[in-house]
């Protein structure tokens, strides 16, 4: 009986098989990834609750009404806080790769036509979307509180730049996710990003020109923060842009390097 099937040969016509377009990129997968993020209680706290609460805590400190560029101090804090929240969210999204890897999901994906770069791209898009939600929430918190003031155009420009800047931290999340096994990635990223925010002129103002400022200008939050606030401050030093570009390259390079090695057994 089995010999008959053997001589019949395979019913699969090899020539009728194609390779998927766009390296496997598609909206079904993107939709499921987004739904997963929105279902995750921890991400929702990071995304919606935490950054907004931080803004309410820091956004009303004394001197909030002083002028900064084309707005006030509260606006400056609003943009910084939105960046912090979005960075945290994006990094958490990136770090999900770590959990997926420890569960062998990455290996399962290696058995499909999905290109690793496309997988990363999808994760990046999800992280961007989550970052955008975080930015929106903090901005709504700002509007509700009523203290931040800047022209609407500046407001929108800052928000958009912030979302783009979160890519740096999505890449960082992926990279750390690969370096630190399993659920521990967020234990590293949470305090790590808080630290970078403090020394990177995001959560507390650092006086320009001091030693602290020089140190700050080399840390990964510094560049993106300057970029995100530039429509408000009308200042964008060249080394801030360089800082953002170099850190993005380091994190993407690191993530790609770890990913390419990711065929090992789990």
């Amino acid at each position: 009986m089995s010999t008959t099937t053997a001589t019949m040969g395979s019913t699969v016509d090899v020539t009728s098989r194609n390779v998927p377009r766009f390296g496997g990129f598609n909206s079904t997968m993107l939709g499921i990834e987004l739904r997963r993020m929105l279902r995750n209680r921890r991400t929702i706290i990071f995304t919606l609750v935490f950054p907004a609460a931080m803004f309410f805590a820091f956004g009303g400190q004394s001197g909030w009404d002083e002028k900064v560029g084309s707005g006030n101090v509260a606006a400056y804090i609003l943009v910084s806080m939105a960046l912090y929240g979005a960075a945290l969210t994006a990094a958490a999204g990136g770090a999900m790769v770590a959990i997926e890897r420890s569960l062998g999901w990455s290996r399962s994906l290696r058995l499909t036509p999905l290109k690793p770069a496309v997988y990363i791209l999808t994760k990046a898009l999800v992280a961007l979307t989550m970052g955008a939600i975080a930015v929106t929430v903090v901005n709504v918190a700002g509007i509700v509180q009523g203290k931040p003031s800047m022209p609407v155009g500046t407001w929108i420009a800052c928000a958009l730049l912030t979302v783009v800047c979160t890519l740096v931290f999505a890449a960082l999340g992926v990279f750390i996710g690969y370096l630190v096994p399993g659920e521990n990635a967020m234990q590293v990223l949470g305090p790590g990003l808080a630290l970078f925010s403090f020394v990177g002129n995001v959560l507390i103002p650092i006086t320009e020109g001091t030693t602290m400022w020089h140190v700050a200008s080399f840390t990964p939050m510094f560049g993106v923060a300057e970029i995100a606030r530039s429509p408000l401050t009308h200042e964008l030093p060249w080394y801030a842009v360089l800082n953002a570009v170099v850190w993005l390259a380091i994190f993407i390079g690191g993530a790609a390097w770890r990913m390419s090695k990711d065929t090992a057994r789990v």
Binding site: T11, V12, V14, V19, M29, I32, G104, W105, T112, P113
Partner: protein, 311 residues
């Protein structure tokens, strides 16, 4: 003008009759100084159901990983459906059921299948696959809430999605109860009867014998036997008689009917034989051998013998 796709089509039609599902040519794989695979040659014809049978560390998983393009051989050629493993994967021609892991707990069963289905150019319908693997009623359940056996069915469903020409199974029934095993193999056999090529790794001779057309025995990174279930079973049949017998008469022993091999280690003698009764009767009645022990020869021992003979 020759389009690449058209050229490939012509090639394939030409050697349609000779095409193999799996072709390994003198494949080796080292991990540092560990020689996990030490020169495997293997051809599997389309439609064959082949068991990869071997003890722990034989190199089964290492070989399967190379067939899936998850790792590169140190030397030699690996082809799947006439292509490089990664290309065969990209075309949805090969899929695998892994023993553990590979699923996300926070996704539902249906989401998992839909996600994977979206990654292939040609795929079966999600509902069909759910039904064929018997998990339609679980579609809305979170994967983390499914039992081990249910998760294994889900893995099987995922493997069926691209309608692969070759299905690789690495110890797929580990951890399943008897009923689960039977159902799983029933599904695999039914599937294979439609012409799918199946290669599965296992430790169990019974499983290999029952479900495979052909058994490839591997040990220490080499193929040590390749044949039908009954041929391989014959290798593992027989028993071993151990006795204390100083100055054993090896020649006399070897001449007894049904004796495969005789080993002397100091004062003890080990006799591998199909007919151990005759050996025992001889030892007890005609010699001063004592402390007789008769043990069934397991597969492990058959492996050791086979590899010993090959080395």
């Amino acid at each position: 003008m020759r389009v690449r796709g058209a050229a490939r089509f012509a090639d394939t039609v030409d050697d349609m009759t000779t095409q193999t599902a799996v072709s390994l040519r003198d494949v080796t794989k080292n991990f540092g100084d560990v020689e996990a695979v030490r020169g495997i040659d293997l051809d599997i014809a389309p439609g064959e159901v082949v068991a990869f049978l071997g003890p722990n560390g034989a190199g089964k998983t290492t070989t399967i990983d190379m067939l899936l393009g998850l790792s590169q051989p140190t030397s030699g050629e690996v082809e799947v459906m006439g292509m490089k493993p990664r290309d065969a994967i990209a075309h949805g021609l090969v899929s695998a059921v892994m023993q553990t892991g590979g699923l996300l707990k926070d996704m539902t069963v249906r989401e998992t299948v839909a996600y994977m289905a979206s990654l292939f150019a040609n795929t079966e319908s999600v509902d069909d696959v759910l039904k064929r693997s018997g998990i339609s009623q679980l579609a809305a359940r979170k994967v983390g809430k499914c039992s081990g056996g249910e998760q294994q069915r889900l893995r099987f469903a995922l493997a069926l999605l691209p309608d692969p020409a070759l299905l690789l199974l690495d110890e797929p029934t580990t951890g399943m109860d008897v009923e689960g095993r039977r159902a799983f193999w029933g599904a695999i056999r039914e599937d294979a009867s439609r012409g799918r090529t199946v290669l599965f790794a296992t430790h169990y001779l019974e499983e290999a014998d029952q479900y495979a057309d052909r058994i490839v025995l591997v040990s220490k990174g080499k193929v040590v036997a390749d044949g039908t279930g009954s041929q391989v079973k014959a290798l593992a049949s027989g028993r071993t008689v151990r006795a204390t017998w100083p100055a054993a008469d090896v020649e006399r022993l070897t001449a007894l009917g049904g004796v495969d091999s005789v080993e002397v280690r100091g004062d003890t003698v080990h006799v591998h034989a199909k007919d151990t009764d005759t050996v025992a009767r001889y030892l007890l009645s005609e010699t001063n051998a004592r402390d007789l022990e008769i043990t069934a020869r397991g597969l492990e021992e058959a492996f050791i013998n086979l590899t010993g003979a090959q080395a």
